[in-house]
Symmetry: D2
Subunit: 335 residues, 4 copies
């Protein structure tokens, strides 16, 4: 029997809290150290789930008391923390995106490759049971060659204007998940075309962002991916996918919150609301993501996004931003 | 190429009109004669679809101008018209029920058997594409031995009190269709248990009938059938069936009137109304029923209910009436 | 803030283990004592979830260290343990059934009523989110007066023959859940009619039991309940319900294990397996049941089945057994 | 009561035959004249449905025996026949597209506008009950402002290579229906971006066409339309639409051929094939289209595509062809 993996958590915001709970309830993980400059956040998590606390991530990384770290701090800190983890030889699961600036990402790229320290990017949707099932069934040949992939990804509601201001724009902030999902099926994307509109969100309008977008990707084998985004959805979190192949298609439906349907004179077979919060919809994905990261640290098989996958998603987001901004069709080379 | 079958129609009420249209538009049938004491009804149909008219069914049967007849006149006339058809050697498709009095049915039974003239009973649901498909798939062994059959059969709204008065009661008037459907899958029924309630319909209350009923049938092989009836259904005509076998089940859903679904903050995936009128829901069944009758007259394969099937349905209805009225479990012998 | 409820657990079999995990992870409960004559079972749970252990339930009840108990030991022990709990003034959540012998249940009944100690029966399906939602929506008048209730309840596979031998028969062992569900909607049942068949299970055949059953209940207001049971289901655990009222119906569908559907040349929109184990299907129900029991011990609102509800379910099971055995329609008085 | 509209039919191929049957069975239409250079085609239809025959469309138009015409002859003949109809003052329902050459269309445009003779283009999908219902519900404000429209349109199988050669390419031949559907909801399209691939069809490969395409349209109000096309679909004719608005979305599902679903150990709730032929899927649409054309000839309300709508669809097809061929984003002015 393996002893539990001692995990250090950096960042105690919403996602940090999810990771803390997952680590604490995992059979083979323990939350040993928590770092956050906002020490009250670290202390609150420590009280619930155990672990030492510090305001200084460097202290955590250098403590000798963590076997691996989870980076859930703000995006601008990711690059430096990843660098520190690599130097310390400590595997890291880093929330997406690596950074909003591809130059900074590229600057670290060679070092990551040379170090050989396991790095996973937090594209949790790869671990959603439904998306993972479709990918596995496609890989097993159930629908033959994949020709078209359609991803509908709509958030329940637009983020605050403050957040939009620093988000890097819809393609880097929101569609980036869909870019990684596209590459989960079709890694070698060669072309990006995107259109954006600003229809309802004042924050987006104020900061020159879009609230509505459609992106088309072309894979090197000619397969076409369509990504349909909106920053709002009255029906709740709208997360669907269809893989269309030679022999049929596999679809992921939205997750209902109830098994009940109603039939009356007005409407029939009416279901209730969808799960409308990403932490509910992707609860299982967060757990599976951490389990996969444990495997990765043990040198076992992993489906996680790598550093290069994280970079590729950003390259696509940059290309989509350029395309929607006027560049039309944009070729990309993810090699 | 065969010449069209010359059909005589007796009775020009709602069902008679359906048959007239089906006959007139069929490629291998023609409406040659129409009889109704209410001659205006016959004339109206003749004007639309052709055919001679008469007030006297005997004239039609004896005219030498009909190859077969469809009996769609009131129930009390069925026995005599069937007898006349048999005597004349003319095949007949007779609307259900044969009669409300089993003694009168039994009195004709031997003569029907001896005559060898093709007689089909108008249990049209046997020809509904969905029910017929389930039966064929069960017969082909797709779900293994059939263990349970569940039939939900609810009318949109209760009939007028006048009609209830002469209907013979819910089991003979409404459930009789379901008895035949049960026997379409499991012909050898040996036991009937039924419960009825009068919950909403003044007509039923006034005439000692039920508006709500549940019937359980046992087949000789032990398979159990459940029939769930109501004389009203706010959602429209509610016609479902589930065949449960060793290896799974096959279900018939209600027929929606539209392919559209709506998702809003309140409800998701909500469909519109079901088809809510038996002539719409069973339009295809009526056409297939007539086509089968044409086959029957030509000595070809038929899935239609026979005279004995019509008798069996009435025996089951009588047993259910007795059971609900206080007899508890009632054994039947359909042999 | 209330201090956690100290719970004693009696019985560490499959259901006992479920309760132990629920108690240990609940925010306001703690597992303080575990009793099982098979001490290794108690020790294994203690190691995972804490709590003292004993082979003797009486020691647990008399320890002064439990605020309430959960009785998950074999059925024949329930009556004596309930009596002991009442005498000690300790609230108890007791797994169903109270006992297989109505005389023994009745013997305790007055004492339970007189004691006023909160007793809940473990009819966990009342707490299933879907069934509870339908009941709440019916109670809120969404579909008007309830006229028919249809319950489909099929187990994935028949239990071992040994178990069938001591189970009390399908109606007391399996349908008893459905009797309680029926009474969750329509408490005042006045009549029972049941039919059973033995179609596939050697254990049932060997011990004179049925593996297939249909039961009809009549409520005092005339509403009719249909319960359709089978001891096997190739498609997995089949647990459905339809509440049919004046203005429409509310239905509970089976729970799929995946959001994925497949469309190929052969079939379209095909979903994967249902949840096929009661602990998965009713995981949320077990948690909600315990939370409700905590409320009950605190004198707050509870939806749990009471001792009298547990008795009523057994009365209905006895009546169904008699009905299927030859008694036809059986009147019952649950008052 | 109005006398029936005497209709002349030009062209007796597959679509011509559909129109002939619709005209002949319509209550207020009669097929009075049929023209086809391939006279056997005209004669065959005349035998079934009546009407005089000729090899010369000009004879039909000038006969004084037709009140309106249906043009179902090959695309290259449309412009001249429309011109002749206008000159004769005879309303025409012309199959799409008007022509493959926008210059020829534009050359006729002013004359059509000046003549005031009712011209309808055969974009039959506007009359599909489901699409028409969604449009009406969107227009009624059910989902608030329309922000995104997604159209999935996949044919069962690619056309013969010969046909591909003269088809004008996938955007002018197939997507043109979807362009008109997009404009049925959002008439004022200002921008087109399209991507095409050739993945499976030798005919497309041979003739420089695509078999797979994704098109994004922007409306003047910023709403975005996505059109997903494939020349094959293993599951049958794949025709779906989703209108996404501020308050929810309305979706059109594929049409199943049966109400039956199957649940076994392998898959649950599996439906059978979709309708897989456009004449089946759009049978109701063809009837409604003709009924609308009759209204149009009578000066009543019409939802049919006008000559300008037909031109707009071709402009969008040309823009998509250019975009996919390398032009990236293409602005269009449909004014």
């Amino acid at each position: 029997m393996t002893s539990p993996l001692r995990l250090g958590l950096i960042g105690t915001g919403r996602i940090g809290q999810v990771h803390a709970a997952t680590i604490a309830t995992g059979a083979d993980t323990e939350l040993s150290y928590i770092a956050d400059p906002f020490i009250a956040g670290a202390e609150a998590l420590s009280q619930r789930f155990g672990g030492r606390v510090t305001t200084d991530p460097a202290e955590l990384i250098g403590s000798g008391q963590v076997d691996a770290i989870v980076i859930a701090s703000p995006t601008p800190t990711h690059i430096d923390l990843l660098a520190a983890a690599i130097d310390a030889g400590i595997p890291a699961l880093c929330e997406k995106p690596i950074d909003l600036d591809i130059a900074r990402v590229d600057a670290l790229r060679e070092r990551v490759a040379a170090a050989g320290v396991p790095i996973a990017l937090g594209f949790n949707r790869r671990f959603d049971p439904a998306f993972a099932e479709v990918r596995a069934r496609v890989a097993a040949g159930e629908i033959g060659d994949l020709e078209q992939l359609t991803i509908v990804s709509r958030d329940p509601a637009a983020p605050p204007a403050d957040y939009v201001a620093i988000s890097g724009g819809i393609f880097r902030d929101m569609t980036i998940h869909d870019f990684d999902m596209a590459r989960f099926f079709l890694p070698d994307i060669v072309e990006v075309t995107a259109s954006g509109s600003t229809l309802f969100d004042d924050g987006a309008r104020q900061h020159g962002d879009y609230d509505t977008a459609v992106t088309t990707l072309r894979a090197s084998n000619g397969a076409l991916v369509t990504i349909i985004n909106s920053r709002h959805s009255a029906v709740g979190y709208d997360q669907r996918l269809e893989a269309f192949g030679v022999n049929g298609h596999l679809s992921v439906a939205n997750a209902h919150t109830s098994l009940v349907s109603a039939s009356t004179a007005a409407t029939t077979d009416a279901r209730g609301p969808y799960q409308d919060f990403f932490l509910d919809r992707y609860a299982a994905a967060y757990r599976a993501e951490l389990a996969d990261f444990v495997s990765l640290t043990r040198g076992e098989r992993s489906h996680a996004a790598t550093f290069d996958d994280g970079r590729a998603a950003l390259v696509l987001a940059d290309a989509a931003t350029a395309s929607a901004g006027g560049a039309g069709r944009v070729s990309v080379d993810l090699g």
